[in-house]
Symmetry: D2
Subunit: 477 residues, 4 copies
Amino acid sequence: MSSLKEECGIFGIFDNKDAATLTALGLHALQHRGQEGCGIVTFDGKNFYSEKRLGLVGDNFTKDNVLKNLPGNAAIGHNRYSTSGNNLIKNVQPFFADLHVGGVSIAHNGNLCNARSLRKELVKNGSIFQTTSDTEAIVQLIAKSKRPRIIDKIIESIFKIKGGYALTILAENKLIGIRDPFGIRPLVIGKLNNSYILASETCALDIIGAKLVREVENGEVVVISDKGLESLKPFPKMKQRPCIFEYIYFSRPDSIINNVSVYEYRKKLGAELAKETHINSDLIIPVPDSGVPAAIGYAESVGKNIELGIIRNHYVGRTFIEPTQQIRSLGVKLKHNINKTLIKNKSLILIDDSLVRGTTSIKIIKMLYEAGAKEVHVRISSPPIKFPDYYGIDTPDQNDLLASKFDLDGIRKYINATSIKFLSIDGLYKAMGYQNRNSMYPQFTDHCFTGDYPIEPTDANNKDFTKNEMSLMSTNR
Amino acid sequence: MSSLKEECGIFGIFDNKDAATLTALGLHALQHRGQEGCGIVTFDGKNFYSEKRLGLVGDNFTKDNVLKNLPGNAAIGHNRYSTSGNNLIKNVQPFFADLHVGGVSIAHNGNLCNARSLRKELVKNGSIFQTTSDTEAIVQLIAKSKRPRIIDKIIESIFKIKGGYALTILAENKLIGIRDPFGIRPLVIGKLNNSYILASETCALDIIGAKLVREVENGEVVVISDKGLESLKPFPKMKQRPCIFEYIYFSRPDSIINNVSVYEYRKKLGAELAKETHINSDLIIPVPDSGVPAAIGYAESVGKNIELGIIRNHYVGRTFIEPTQQIRSLGVKLKHNINKTLIKNKSLILIDDSLVRGTTSIKIIKMLYEAGAKEVHVRISSPPIKFPDYYGIDTPDQNDLLASKFDLDGIRKYINATSIKFLSIDGLYKAMGYQNRNSMYPQFTDHCFTGDYPIEPTDANNKDFTKNEMSLMSTNR
Amino acid sequence: MSSLKEECGIFGIFDNKDAATLTALGLHALQHRGQEGCGIVTFDGKNFYSEKRLGLVGDNFTKDNVLKNLPGNAAIGHNRYSTSGNNLIKNVQPFFADLHVGGVSIAHNGNLCNARSLRKELVKNGSIFQTTSDTEAIVQLIAKSKRPRIIDKIIESIFKIKGGYALTILAENKLIGIRDPFGIRPLVIGKLNNSYILASETCALDIIGAKLVREVENGEVVVISDKGLESLKPFPKMKQRPCIFEYIYFSRPDSIINNVSVYEYRKKLGAELAKETHINSDLIIPVPDSGVPAAIGYAESVGKNIELGIIRNHYVGRTFIEPTQQIRSLGVKLKHNINKTLIKNKSLILIDDSLVRGTTSIKIIKMLYEAGAKEVHVRISSPPIKFPDYYGIDTPDQNDLLASKFDLDGIRKYINATSIKFLSIDGLYKAMGYQNRNSMYPQFTDHCFTGDYPIEPTDANNKDFTKNEMSLMSTNR
Amino acid sequence: MSSLKEECGIFGIFDNKDAATLTALGLHALQHRGQEGCGIVTFDGKNFYSEKRLGLVGDNFTKDNVLKNLPGNAAIGHNRYSTSGNNLIKNVQPFFADLHVGGVSIAHNGNLCNARSLRKELVKNGSIFQTTSDTEAIVQLIAKSKRPRIIDKIIESIFKIKGGYALTILAENKLIGIRDPFGIRPLVIGKLNNSYILASETCALDIIGAKLVREVENGEVVVISDKGLESLKPFPKMKQRPCIFEYIYFSRPDSIINNVSVYEYRKKLGAELAKETHINSDLIIPVPDSGVPAAIGYAESVGKNIELGIIRNHYVGRTFIEPTQQIRSLGVKLKHNINKTLIKNKSLILIDDSLVRGTTSIKIIKMLYEAGAKEVHVRISSPPIKFPDYYGIDTPDQNDLLASKFDLDGIRKYINATSIKFLSIDGLYKAMGYQNRNSMYPQFTDHCFTGDYPIEPTDANNKDFTKNEMSLMSTNR
C-alpha cells in the first residue's frame, strides 16, 4: 500500500452537448488520482462557466445541483490531490484568466521544478498571484505573453517551465492538450462519436464508452478545434521517458498505458518477484487492494492461490474519530481487520506493491502476529524507494523514506517481519519485456529507485525558498 | 452481488469510560449492515444522552463534534438501513422513552411480523407513535406494562412480539441483550477487560480488540449490570434456527458465527458449487467484492486462480449524476469497469454469491461481451431466491425476484448468459458440514429458498393494512 | 424595554387553497411573539404535512423550499419563544398525534399550571412524552380520551388542564380554536373571503387583508368546518379577565384587542403617566422602540415633542461577538447608541413601558451620563412588576424582579437615575376608561403588579417537582 | 424611504491587541452601509489573515468561529453592498495582493469612474483580474507600480483613478487612509487610548468608546505607523465637496459629519420643509424609520406631534416568501402595516426623506387610503432626484427615477397622493446654515438633484463598454 500520492487527474472534451456531464463522469473514473477537490470549466461559445468543490466528484457534481450551471459543448475538468494545509477551494483547478484576447482555463497534472523562481520574477513585475499552486505560474506566463494568438502565448509559456506536466487547456473554441518533453505525466486522446477527448488514463474513456485514439506524445501539443485535431511539436525531438510509478501503482488496473495493460504488468511484477524471492509458506496474502494483482501473478507462478487474510473496511469516513491515547492502545482496527481463523498458526507471504514510510506495514504485521501468524515474509513488487520525486508525486521527505534510512535488514527489523525482499530494478524492466534497464537512456523515469533525475529540481535545490512563501492565510466560505 | 439489504447493526457496552467512542468504533465495523443513519445513546448514572445522524458513522461521530455530548459508562448504538421514503432522522435508533421507573433506550435489528396489529391496538388505547418503525411498538409495550421492574416490563413485552429480532436495551444501570426464540438475527457477547459488550457480529469486537465470550442464545435475555452478566430464559426451550443469509452475504467475511468462519464457509460454498457445476473455461472471474471468497474456493477446488476481470470503483458517491437518457445509452460504467485486455476472446466463469433481481448481472454480462468475452457461464454460490423475507431483510416483492418469475433457462435468457447454475439447497448444508437439510427441523432459517417460514408473517397476511398508514409527512431540520 | 417574553403566537386557516402561505404570512406578522422556532401543519383531505424550523419565519418558510411541502386547504402554525437550553427542533409546535380516529395537530400559546402533575400521571399509565413542552400533556390527554368524537376528546381534555391558553387545533376536516375560561391569552376570529382564520392578534389578519370578525370569547370553543363556524361553551359562564400585558407590551401597536387600539392605549398610559409624575426637563426621550407610543402620549399631554436621544442598531445578529473582559470594559454599545449632540448638558425624561430586571436601563442611563446628560428622570408607563407569571409569560424568578427586591429609592439607586416614577395601578385602569381597578372582580389579569392570581399555580407550588425532569438530552440533526 | 444604496462601510485600526474584534464591532455599527458581505484582514507582524463572509457582521464574526483566525494588532474591514447578480464571496473586500515588497490589503468605499478603461489597459499588459469589482483596478495598479516603497506605489496609483473614494489600506506595519480630492466619500480618524482608528462614520467610534480626532481631509493620505500619524497631501489643494446624501440619508442619525449632527440636520430639513410647504391636516406621519427625524423637526416647527401611523415589521427575513399572483393581489403587507384606528377619516401629512422610484410610496399611500385616510399630503425633506450617481451610490437608471420621468403633478398622480411637495435646493443649504447653494463652488456634491457632476463619469460615457464584461460565471463553495 503506497503512501505516495499522485497530484491530480485531468479530462477535456470538445464538441459534445453533454460536455460537463461527460467530464464529471471522466473525473469520477479518475477519482483515485485526487480526492480533495474537483472542478469543471465549460465554454458555451460566449461565456466560460466554472464550478469547483472540495470533496469527491460523485458527492458534488449531480445533475440538479451543479451540472446545470455548466452549459456549453466544450469542457475541461480536474481532480485535485492537495498536500495538507492548503486544502482551499481557491487552489482547486481548473484555473481561469480573462485575457484581452479572451478567456483561457487550465487544468494541470504534474509539478513544475522552477515554479517558485518563475513566481518570484512575475510578482516583481506586477503579477498578483491568487493561489499557492505552481500551476498559476503557467497562467500568469500566458497572460504576460505578448504573442498575439493564444496558442503562441501558450507555447511561449511552456518553454519557460520545467518539470513533469500534462495540461488540458480550454480557450475560446479550442481544447488544447500538452505533455512535457519527457512525457513523464500521462495523457491520452479518445473519441466519442465525433467528440475528441483528453484524459489522464484510458479508464476515463471506458466509463463513457469512448474509444482510445492514441497517447499524446512526449513534448506534443494537440489543438482540437472545429477543424479537427492538429498536432504541434514545438520542442526538439527526444525519446519518451514516462513515469514508472503510473504502472506500478497510480493508474487503475483496468487502464492501458502505451499498449500495456496495467493489471497484466502488475501480475508480471508479481511473477518476477516470485522468480527472484520465493520461499515456501502456507498462504499468499495480498495487502488489499494495492497488492492483489501482484499477489495473483505471484501465486499463479508458484501454482498456488491467494487468500483474503486481510479484510478492508470500505466505509472509512473522512473525518473519523481520533481515538484517545487509551483507546489507541487497544490497537483500533479502523481500516483493516485480520481473517483470524485463516491466519492462525500459518506462515504467510505478504505481498504489496511498494513500501514508502512503512507505517501501514507495521500495523498490519502486528495485527497478523496478534491473530496467530507464525511467520510473515514481506514481498514488495517494486524496488526500494530511496529518493523523493519533484514531478508531480507527493513523496515524503527523503529522511522519511524507509529505504533511504535503513538497509534491508534494518527495514525488516523496523516493520518486524520474518523476512523482506524487494523486486530488483532489472525485474521491473523485465516485467515490461525489456532485457534490463538501459542505463544510458533509461526507458522510464525511475529516479525514486535510482536517483537518476531527468530534470534538475531547481526550486528544491535553491536554499533561498522557504516552505511557506504566501503571506495570506484565508478562509472564504 | 446481492440486492438484499440487512436491516441494521447493533452494539452495546457497559462499564467503560470510553463507552460512546467504543460504540462508534463498533458501529463503524458494522457499517455494512446499514448506511442510512446511526445513533448512540449513553447513560451517565443520572441522565441519558442521545445523538443521531443520517449517513455514515465515520462521517458523523467524531471526537470534537458529537462524542463529547455522550458522557457515561454505558452505551448502545445502532446502524440503520432504511427502506426508501422514510429516511427521516426520527426513525433513526436507538429509541428512548422516559418511563416513571426511569429512562429506557432500545436498538433493534430485525423485523416484527405483528408490528402493525400491535400498533393499531396500542393507538386505540391512547399511545402516540412518533415514528413509522416497527421497533416503536416494543417501546410502547414496555411503557404500557404494569409490571413494577423494568426487566419484567421488557419480558412481558417480548412475549407479545413475533418475528426476528436482536435487541440491545439500555436502562438505568443495566444493559440488556435479547435474541428472538429462533435466534434468527445474530447477537454476540464480548468482553474488553472488565466491560461487557453486545454486538451483531464479531468484527465489531475485533475493531476494539475485545474478546468473543459467546453468542447470545436463541430466546435468551442477558442482563448486564454491576453484578455481572445474568442469563434469563423466559421462553420455552427450542432449537435455534439462525438466518442462513448472515453466512451467505450479510456478515463480514472476517466475522465468526457460531464457531464458523464466514470467509471459510463462503469458500466452501464455492467449492461445493464447483463440485456441482464446473465446466472448462479460460478464466474464473468473481463479481467484486461479493463473489470473491466463493470464487477463491471454486478456483482452488479446480486447481486454478481467480482473475480480476471486473474492476470496481470505490468512490461511488451517494448522490451521483443521474445521466440523461442519451448519456445512459452510452453504457455508463459508474460502478464497474471491465479489464478488457484480460477478457478479450476468453470464456469466463462468472461467480457471485446470490442473484435477486438480476439488474447488476445484466449490466455486467453486457459489459463483458462488449469487452470481447466469448462465453459467460454464471455460477451462483447459493440457491435461487424465490420467497420474500419478513424477519429483517429487505427483499423485493416476490414478483421482482428473478427466480420466482422464471425457470433456470428463463433466468439465463433474461441476463443473457451462456449458461447459469445455482448451488443446490443440500450444497448449502453440506458446505456447513451437514449431510443435508433436515426438513423436519431445518438447521437454519432458509425460507427465501424453500418457502418454509418458521413464524407466520401476520401483518403481511392481513389485507386490512395498507402500505402507508402514517398520516403525517414531516421534515424537521 | 421589557425583558418579559411572550410564549408564542398562533394562527389557523380553513378552506383556502393558499393555506400554508397565508399561515406563513400570519406567523410573520406575529413574529414579535416568538423568534426561536416556527412550524406549520397542513391537511389536504387525506394526509397531514408538517414543517418546522429553528429561527424566523421569513428566513425559513420560502416558496421554493418549504411551502411546496405543505399542500392542503387547512393549516395551523406556531411561533415559538423558547426558554434557554431547550431550543430543540422537537419542541417546536404544532405537535401532531396519529389517533385511531385520525390525526390531530395542536398549536398552543400560554402555559399550563398543572402540566407536570398531569404528565406524571400520564407517564405512570404508559404515555411516552417526546418533548419537554407543557403542550404535550394536552395532546396525550386527547389521545387517552375514550370519547368517540375528536371534539369530545378535546373538550374532555381541556377540563383537566389549568392555566392560560389559546389553542388552534387541526383535525381531519376541522379547525378548532379554544380560549381558556378567563380569556387570559388572546385569540381572534377573522375572515378572508370565505375562509375562516384564527390568530393571536389582529395584525396577522391585516397582513393578508383579512377582516376581523370578533374575538374568541373566554372559555369558548369554536369549531370551523365545511358547515361554517359553530360555537361551543363547555365551561360555566364567567367574566373575562384578559392579560393586561398584551396591551402594555406584547401585542403589536397596530393590533386591536377587544375594540381597543393598542397604540392608543399606550399613548393614554403615557398621558396618565404625565398626569401623575410630570416634572420640567429639557427633553422627552423614549427608549426605542418599546417606549415610543407612551412617550408620544406623554409629550402630547405636556405640549412638547419626543426626541430621538437613543438610536437603536437594527442589525443585531443572533450569535454576536462575545467581547473579552477587556473589550467589555470599553462599554461596547452593540444595541444602542446615544445621540450625543442632542443630549449634552440636558435634563431628560426617559420613558419606557416597563422595568423588569433593570439590566438595559442601567446600561442606557450610564451611556446617557457619559454622553453628557445632566439629569435622567426615568418614567415607566406601567406599575412595578413584583410577582412572576405562570400563564404564558416568561418572567424571571421573583428575586430577579427589581421591584420585588427594592423600594422605589432602591430601584433609583440601582439604575442610577436622578428620579424614577411608575404609573399607578389605577392609572393603568383609567387609561383603559375605567374609574379604577375593580378589586372584587378585576377587569384584567394583572397579578404581576398585584399578586392577585386568578388560577392557582399548582406545579410551581409543588416542591416535588425539580426543574429538569426529562432524563434525555438529545440533538438530532 | 430611499431606495438609494450606499456602496460600503470601511474601518481600520492600528496597534491594538483586539484589532479584529474591534474591527468587527466597528463594521457592526456601519452595517447600514452594506449588508451583503463583510470581511476583515489582519496583520500580525509576519503574516496577513483574511476572513470574508456573505451576510451580516453580527451573524458571522463571532468569537469562537472566526475572530480567532484573525490574530494581529492591525486590521482593516469592509461591509459590502452588492448590486444584484454579483453577490459572490470573491467580490467581498478587503482585497489582498502579495507584492514582492510585501503584502497589501485594501478596503474601498466609493466608485471609480474610469475603472473599466483602467482594467482594459491592465489586462492588455498581462494583469489577471479575479473579481468584477472596480476596486481591483487599484490593487493591480499598485502591483504594477515600479516605485520602490509601498506608499509611493499607492500614491502613483491614486493619481490614475477618478471618482469618489475612501480607502483603508493595510500594508506591513502601516495603516493608510485616503479620501478622494473632493472628499466625496467620508472617512474619519479616531483614537482609542493609543490606537488610531479610521472609519466611515463616527458611530463606528462610539460603539467601541473611541474618541473622534478629526476627519480625513479631501485629497489627504494619512499614514499610521509606529511613528504615529503622518499626513500627506499629494494632490493640488482644492475645496472639499462632500456628498450631501450622507447627511440626507446614508449616515446613521447619531453620526457627526464635519461637526454637524446628522439627526439635527435632518430635523432642520423637516423644519425648512414645514416653512416651505405646510398646510393644515390632522396628523403628521413619518415613513418609518427614514422619515422620523425630519417629521419630528417638521412637527416641532408647526407646534404639533408626530404620530406612528405606519408600523414597521422588524423581522423581514432575507429570503422571504414570494407570494403567488393571487396572494399578491390580497395586498400583502410584509414590511409595513397601518395603524388603522388612528388613521381613519383623517387627513395626513406623510413625511419621508427622499423619493427615488416611488415603489414604496405607492404601496404605503394605497394602504393608508384602504385604512380610511381622507387625504394624504406627501412631503419630502429633500429635492427631486433627477440624475444618477457614479461615485459610490447605487442609483437606478435615470429613466427609473420618478422625478426624471414626471413633473410634480405627474409624480402626484403616479403615487396617488392628494398633494406632493419637495424641499427646494436652497432649503437643503439653508438647513446647513448657508444662505443658499453657491452655484460657482457648490459646498456639496449634489449632482443627483442638480446634474452638476464634479468628475466626468468616463466609463458611463464610453459606449464601448457593455454591462457584463467578465466572461467567467463562477460559483465556489
